[in-house]
C-alpha cells in the first residue's frame, strides 16, 4: 500500500483539493451573481442578462469539479447490508471491485465526452441567451470525470481516507479503551 505521504498521493490530494476549491469559488460567484440579479430587477429595474445560462454552467462546473474530492475523501453514500457479513479479505476484494467499476465508468465517460466535444463544436452548439459555445465545457467535465477515475484507480494501491471505514475504526478504538458501551451486545 502506498502511504498518504508518498508524492503520488500528495500531488493527487493537491489536485482534488484545488478542483474542490474551484467548485467552491464557482458556488460563491453564483450566489453573488443571482442575488445581484434579483436586486437589479427589483431596485434598479435592470436585471442582469443571461443569469440562467451562467447558473447552468456553474452547476456543470461545480458537479464535475467536486466528484474527485468526494471520491478522495471516501465520502460517498454506501450501504453495507451484505458487505458487513464478509470477513476482512472479501471486503477488501469488494472495495477494490467497486473502485474498478467506478474507474471504468468514469474513464469511459471522460473518453466519450472528449469525442462528443468534436461533434458539439462542429454543430456550434451554444447556450440560449449568451450563445456561449458548449464544447469547452465538455473538456472541463471530461477532466473532472478523468480525475475521479484516477482517484478510483489510486484507491486500489494507496491508503486514502474512507469516511465510513474510518468511523468504524474510531468506534473500535473507543471500545478497546472501554470508554464506550458495546453496540447491541456486539
Amino acid at each position: 500500500m502506498l502511504s498518504r505521504d508518498s508524492a503520488l498521493v500528495r500531488s493527487t490530494n493537491a489536485a482534488v483539493t484545488a478542483s474542490a476549491v474551484l467548485a467552491g469559488v464557482v458556488l460563491f460567484a453564483l450566489m453573488i451573481l443571482t442575488t445581484a440579479d434579483v436586486i437589479g430587477r427589483y431596485f434598479f429595474n435592470a436585471p442582469l442578462g443571461g443569469v440562467v445560462d451562467l447558473t447552468e454552467f456553474s452547476v456543470l462546473l461545480m458537479t464535475f469539479l467536486s466528484f474527485a474530492y468526494c471520491g478522495y475523501r471516501g465520502a460517498h453514500v454506501v450501504i453495507e447490508l451484505l458487505y458487513d457479513r464478509f470477513g476482512p479479505g472479501p471486503r477488501a476484494v469488494l472495495r477494490a471491485a467497486a473502485n474498478v467499476a467506478g474507474a471504468i465508468l468514469f474513464g469511459v465517460m471522460a473518453w466519450r465526452l472528449v469525442v462528443q466535444s468534436i461533434d458539439v463544436r462542429d454543430f456550434a452548439e451554444s447556450s440560449q441567451l449568451l450563445t456561449i459555445p458548449f464544447w469547452p465545457f465538455y473538456w472541463v467535465i471530461a477532466f473532472g470525470a478523468a480525475l475521479f477515475a484516477w482517484v478510483m484507480v489510486l484507491r486500489l494501491f494507496a491508503d486514502l481516507p474512507d469516511e465510513s471505514e474510518d468511523a468504524k475504526d474510531d468506534e473500535n478504538k473507543k471500545q478497546d479503551d472501554g470508554s464506550s458501551v458495546s453496540v447491541d451486545g456486539r
Binding site: T17, A20, V21, A23, G24, L27, L30, M31, L33, T34, T35, D37, V38, Y42, V52, T55, E56, F57, S58, V59, L60, M62, T63, F64, S66, F67, Y69, C70, R73, A75, H76, V77, V78, I79, L81, L82, Y83, L94, R95, A97, A98, A101, G102, I104, L105, V108, M109, R112, L113, Q116, F134, I141, A145, A167, S180, V181, S182, V183, D184, G185
Partner: protein, 431 residues
C-alpha cells in the same frame, strides 16, 4: 423484460455490496442499455447524459442550500434557536426535549439535511438535557427524531431530488412541506408531553424563565427567523424563484456569519470543503440516476407495472397504502436519497395513473423517508446521534425513538386523510 429484471437485481446487489450508489446506477444502466440497444448508442449516452444532466438550472439549489446550512452551523445560530425554545417551553414537563424539537424545526428551515440538523442541535441540546438528568432514551430519541424535520421543512434535499425526477415544481414542493412540518413538530411535542406527564422522572422540568429573558432570546434569533421569512415568503409570494431564494438565503447567512465574527480561515475552509463534498455525492447519485433511467425506459418496466397494478381492481387507497408500506420496509435498509432515485421512476407513473396529486404525494413520501432515517438497523440519524451522545448504547437510542416513530405514522395518516395539509400553501401561492 428479463434483461431489465436482471439489471435491477444486479443494481441492488452492487448497492448492498457497498458500491457507491451513483456508480452502481451508472454501471447497471450502461450495461443494461448496452445489452438492449447496442454498444454505440450506449457510448453516445455516456458522452451526452453527464453534460445534459448537469447543465440544469434547478440543480444549483442543492449546492446553495447546503452552503447556507453550513454557514448557519458555524454562525452559532443553533445555540440561539435552542436558547429561545428553552426559554419558551423549558419549564413544561419534558420541556428541554420539546425545546430540542422546536430548535430542530427552526434549524430545518435553513438546512436541507436531516443529518446536519441532528448534529447541530444535538451538540447544543444533549449536554443541557444531561445536566437536568433527562432519561438518555428520551434525550437521544428527540434529537434523532427532531433532526428528521430537516428534510420535511423547506429547504429540503428530498423535495429537490423528487422534483428533478418528476419534473414537478420545487417551489410548490417546498411550500407543501411547511404545514406538515409544523404538524409533525406539534405531534413530537405532544408525544414528549404525554411521556413526561406519565413519568415525570424521564424529563424533569427546567426552571421557568422570566419574560425579560424570553424577549432577549427571541430577539437574538430574529436575524435567523428573518432570513427564513425572506426565503419562504419570497417563494410563496412569487417574488423570486427557489434558486434566487437559495442564493439570497445563503448570502444573508454568510453575511450574518461575518457580522458575528464567526468567519475565520478555519470555518470558511470547513464550510466550502464540506459543502463541496456534500453536493458532490448528491450530484453523483443524480448523474447515476439519469444514466440508469434511459435504460429503465427502454425496458418499459414502470409502464408495465403501472398497467398491472391499475388492472388489479383494487381501490386506489389500498394501492397507495401498499406503496407507503413498501417504502417503510425499504426505508429500514436503504438511504433516503438512494431510495427516491431507485423508486420514483417506477412508482411515480403508478401514483399519477391512480389520480393522486404529485405534490401531495411528494410531501407524504418525505414523511415516510423521515421514518426511514430513524428505523433500525440503518437509520442514519441514529448513527449520527450515537456519535455525539457519548456512551448511550445504540439499543437505547432505538428504544427512545419508538414513540416519535409512532408520531410520524400519525402524521402520515393525517396527510392521507386530509391532503389539504400539504396542498393548501402550494395551491394558494402566487406565480
Amino acid at each position: 423484460m428479463a434483461v431489465g429484471q436482471l439489471a435491477l437485481a444486479g443494481l441492488f446487489l452492487m448497492i448492498f455490496l457497498r458500491v457507491p450508489i451513483g456508480i452502481a446506477l451508472g454501471v447497471a444502466g450502461a450495461l443494461g442499455y448496452w445489452s438492449l440497444s447496442g454498444l454505440d448508442p450506449t457510448l453516445a449516452l455516456l458522452g451526452s447524459v453527464p453534460f445534459e444532466t448537469a447543465l440544469n438550472y434547478d440543480l444549483s439549489i442543492i449546492a446553495l442550500f447546503v452552503l447556507m446550512g453550513n454557514f448557519a452551523m458555524v454562525s452559532g445560530m443553533s445555540r440561539d434557536l435552542y436558547d429561545m425554545a428553552r426559554s419558551l417551553v423549558g419549564h413544561w414537563p419534558g420541556g428541554l426535549a420539546s425545546a430540542t424539537i422546536v430548535g430542530c424545526a427552526g434549524f430545518a428551515a435553513v438546512s436541507g439535511s436531516s443529518l446536519a440538523s441532528a448534529v447541530t442541535m444535538g451538540r447544543v441540546a444533549l449536554p443541557e438535557m444531561k445536566r437536568y438528568n433527562y432519561d438518555p432514551k428520551l434525550a437521544t430519541g428527540c434529537v434523532a427524531a427532531g433532526g428528521t424535520l430537516g428534510i420535511l421543512i423547506p429547504p429540503s434535499t428530498g423535495f429537490i431530488i423528487y422534483a428533478l425526477l418528476t419534473e414537478e415544481s420545487i417551489g410548490q414542493l417546498f411550500l407543501a412541506g411547511v404545514l406538515p412540518g409544523l404538524l409533525l413538530t406539534g405531534l413530537f411535542m405532544i408525544t414528549i408531553f404525554i411521556m413526561a406527564w406519565r413519568d415525570p422522572s424521564i424529563g424533569p422540568k427546567a426552571s421557568r424563565m422570566p419574560w425579560s429573558e424570553r424577549l432577549r432570546t427571541v430577539w437574538r434569533s430574529t436575524s435567523l427567523l428573518a432570513i427564513v421569512a425572506i426565503v419562504l415568503g419570497g417563494i410563496y409570494f412569487g417574488l423570486f424563484t427557489p434558486v434566487e431564494a437559495a442564493s439570497i438565503g445563503s448570502l444573508l447567512t454568510f453575511l450574518l456569519t461575518v457580522f458575528r465574527g464567526k468567519l475565520t480561515r478555519e470555518t470558511l475552509s470547513f464550510c466550502v470543503l464540506e459543502t463541496v463534498k456534500t453536493f458532490a455525492f448528491v450530484y453523483l447519485i443524480v448523474i447515476g440516476a439519469f444514466l440508469f433511467n434511459p435504460f429503465l425506459a427502454v425496458t418499459q418496466i414502470p409502464l408495465k407495472l403501472a398497467d398491472i397494478v391499475t388492472h388489479l381492481d383494487m381501490a386506489p387507497l389500498a394501492i397507495l397504502l401498499m406503496v407507503v408500506f413498501t417504502y417503510i420496509v425499504l426505508g429500514t435498509f436503504l438511504e433516503g436519497i438512494a431510495m427516491l432515485v431507485l423508486t420514483i421512476p417506477i412508482v411515480f407513473p403508478l401514483i399519477k395513473s391512480l389520480g393522486y396529486d404529485p405534490i401531495w404525494f411528494g410531501a407524504l413520501l418525505v414523511v415516510v423517508l423521515e421514518m426511514s432515517l430513524i428505523s433500525p438497523p440503518l437509520g442514519l440519524n441514529v448513527f449520527v446521534v450515537k456519535g455525539i451522545a457519548d456512551g448511550v448504547p445504540m439499543g437505547d437510542i432505538f428504544k427512545g425513538i419508538v414513540p416519535f416513530w409512532g408520531a410520524m405514522l400519525v402524521c402520515a395518516a393525517l396527510l392521507i386523510m386530509f391532503p389539504e395539509i400539504a396542498t393548501f400553501l402550494p395551491d394558494t401561492m402566487m406565480n
